[in-house]
């Protein structure tokens, strides 16, 4: 295609030159007709829509759907699965305590694996490689009204050193110190890791663990953007 086009383009250029280099100096020509002002709809998460609560069999089946035999559920940690809207998009997610299988370790650490491995306690972990002894928490993000039960829900984070024995999902609003007018959507995971209680939460880009009972916020001064002249 390109071979054909080039000679034709050259011919066109020749014709243009013969016609007096009409394009050398742009004439005062047409004007871009800006579309009528486009109204946009809000892009906020849909209201949280619960789905039937997960049972142990559901959690195992979901793990198998995502990982096949690369990891198995780890019921030894007491409360080993829970659901909630952990990424705050209005769709129910599933978190399952898991451990790698001996045969699945290579697949788990495959650079082209279908999941993202992170260590929420290490902002910049020197290595995200999973070891056979690592306690894992697999978080499967829900998609649409059916949440994690939707077969199309495939986005999965494998969190190293997460999924403590006391983990439970709590509304984000309960984990945040009360602030008038402040409302956070979704859930966080409250858990105890290595004897320290803390909260596992989605910060918009990754899962982060913070020690303590809650995230303390204060009311900021009410400053709103004055028009939209500057992007600052």
């Amino acid at each position: 295609m390109r071979d054909v086009r080039r000679p034709l383009g050259a011919a066109a250029l020749g014709v243009a030159c013969c016609l007096g280099c009409a394009t050398e100096r742009p004439p005062s020509g047409p004007r871009e007709a800006e579309p009528a002002l486009v109204q946009s709809s809000r892009s906020e998460p849909a209201p949280f829509r619960p789905v039937p609560p997960a049972a142990a069999g559901d959690a195992r089946a979901c793990l198998t759907r995502i990982f096949a035999d690369v990891v198995v559920a780890d019921p030894s940690r007491g409360r080993w699965f829970l659901d909630g809207d952990f990424n705050g998009d209005g769709s129910v997610d599933l978190a399952v305590a898991a451990r790698p299988t001996a045969a699945g370790l290579d697949a788990l650490n495959d650079p082209l694996a279908n999941w993202i491995v992170e260590d929420p306690r290490q902002p910049r972990s020197p290595s995200t490689a999973v070891a056979s002894s690592d306690a894992l928490l697999a978080v499967i993000h829900g998609y649409g009204p059916d949440g994690w039960r939707n077969p199309e829900a495939r986005q999965t984070y494998v969190l190293k050193n997460s999924g403590g024995s006391t983990m439970r999902a709590v509304p984000t609003s309960e984990a945040v110190a009360p602030v008038p007018g402040y409302e956070r959507v979704g859930h966080v995971i409250r858990e105890t890791l290595d004897g320290s209680s803390g909260i596992l939460y989605w910060n918009g880009a990754r899962y982060v663990w913070t020690a303590g009972e809650g995230i303390r916020l204060t009311v900021p001064p009410s400053v709103s953007e004055g028009g939209h002249r500057a992007r600052r």
């Binding site: 005062s28 020509g29 004007r31 694996a113 993000h141 880009a205």
Partner: protein, 400 residues
């Protein structure tokens, strides 16, 4: 005689048909915009002028010239340099604010938190209560002159052609040099600008702290005045630098392909998979610029011959999408854009080692997997590829 006339008519018809075909081809498939990481002009200005403008783009500003009081860098090229002036860098900027449950509220002084100040006493910091925080990587500006010359209606048409669940948001933003008349936004992570002059004036103020006639008001530090530290009368630039920045960007070539890698079997297979999976629904391959002579930017700029009627391959749609990555910040697009970012144009992406809007992702595979929300069906197609196919697709990306 009759035979001769018939031959002449046939000849004329043949020439006419060839001309018609040529016109048809040149109308439907404009020539590719020049591409190269070579510090050469695309023809919009002479090489001499290009070099002069590039020098201004690279010039390190001083306090005496108006730098700061709060700022992020001393020169445009500090953030736009890899592999040549005008391109990208690993440098990020910091933004923050607060979500009150309904609306995003700017951090005091604006969502941009300047990383540097000319005096330690006015260093900006993220204040408590501003739980929305994000980094933004430095964007490529090479080839932006062509992007500026794309019709707003073309961008809107791309949006309208996308599946409803993946439809990009087209926003209109003020063109500062046209008395704030609105035009389709296309520059910046939030599509907050539509013209390169507006973009330049904005960056000169917000990244370097230098005021100009289009942005005459100095920034604050966390909402507090820095006038006591500002010794240069505003506007600190008379507008010449802003014009030079815009002229430089308009004269840059588009980021080129790695032609050797692109010619490999794997890259070509990856090229095919890129479409088969659906990546090109948003990472659009081909966009044509308006004809030379067209008035754009609400009358403030005429498309020049060097930029007009060209085909670019940005692998982006210059529209805002929610792909599950936030970033929670609102700029020119209103609250509906809070969790949307512009599709990253992938031209030149092989020069990046830190990916996505925040630079938080370090591998191609993880960058793909971070896409969610509107991109979910496409990402599931990627997940279903074999390891070989994923490698081919990534090889293709590395050829861009």
């Amino acid at each position: 005689m009759a035979r001769t006339r018939r031959h002449v008519l046939v000849g004329i018809n043949a020439v006419g048909a060839a001309l018609a075909l040529t016109v048809a081809f040149t109308q439907s498939v404009p020539p590719d915009a020049p591409a190269g990481f070579d510090d050469l002009t695309n023809g919009f200005v002479s090489q001499t002028q290009f070099n002069l403008d590039r020098d201004i783009f690279e010039e390190r500003e001083t306090i005496e010239e108006g730098l700061g009081p709060v700022y992020n860098a001393q020169a445009c090229a500090e953030c736009h340099q890899n592999p040549v002036t005008g391109a990208i860098s690993q440098i990020t900027e910091l933004r923050a604010g607060h979500f009150d449950g309904i609306n995003f509220v700017n951090h005091p002084g604006g969502s941009l938190i300047n990383d540097r100040a000319i005096n330690a006493g006015i260093q900006e910091r993220v204040l408590g209560g501003n739980e929305v925080r994000t980094f933004r990587t430095s964007l490529n500006t090479l080839g932006d002159g062509f992007v500026e010359c794309v019709d707003s209606n073309t961008l809107l048409a791309i949006s309208n052609g996308q599946p409803a669940s993946m439809r990009g948001q087209f926003i209109q933003v003020p063109v500062l040099e046209a008395n704030n008349a609105l035009r389709g936004g296309r520059f910046g992570w939030k599509n907050q600008h539509a013209s390169l002059v507006s973009f330049s004036a904005d960056a000169y103020l917000n990244e370097m702290g230098i005021t100009s006639p289009l942005q005459p008001t100095e920034n604050t530090t966390n909402g507090l005045s820095v006038a006591a530290f500002d010794t240069v009368i505003d506007p600190e630039d008379d507008g010449d630098d802003v014009e030079a920045f815009a002229r430089f960007m308009r004269a840059t070539k588009a980021p080129p392909r790695d032609t050797a890698l692109a010619a490999t079997f794997d890259a070509q297979q990856g090229d095919f998979l890129f479409s088969q999976v659906g990546c090109d629904i948003c990472h659009v391959r081909n966009i044509d610029t308006l004809p030379a002579g067209t008035s754009i930017n609400q009358g403030a700029f005429i498309v020049p011959a060097a930029l007009g009627n060209k085909r670019i391959h940005p692998f982006g749609d210059f529209l805002l999408h929610n792909v599950g990555t936030g970033d929670g910040i609102v700029q020119n697009g209103g609250q509906s854009t809070r969790n949307k970012v512009r599709t990253a144009p992938l031209w030149g992406v092989r020069t990046r080692d830190r990916l996505m809007h925040d630079g938080e992702t370090l591998t191609r595979n993880e960058a793909i997997l971070r896409h969610f929300g509107e991109a979910n069906p496409v990402i599931n197609n990627y997940i279903n590829l074999s390891t070989t196919q994923k490698n081919q697709l990534i090889t293709f990306l590395n050829s861009l």
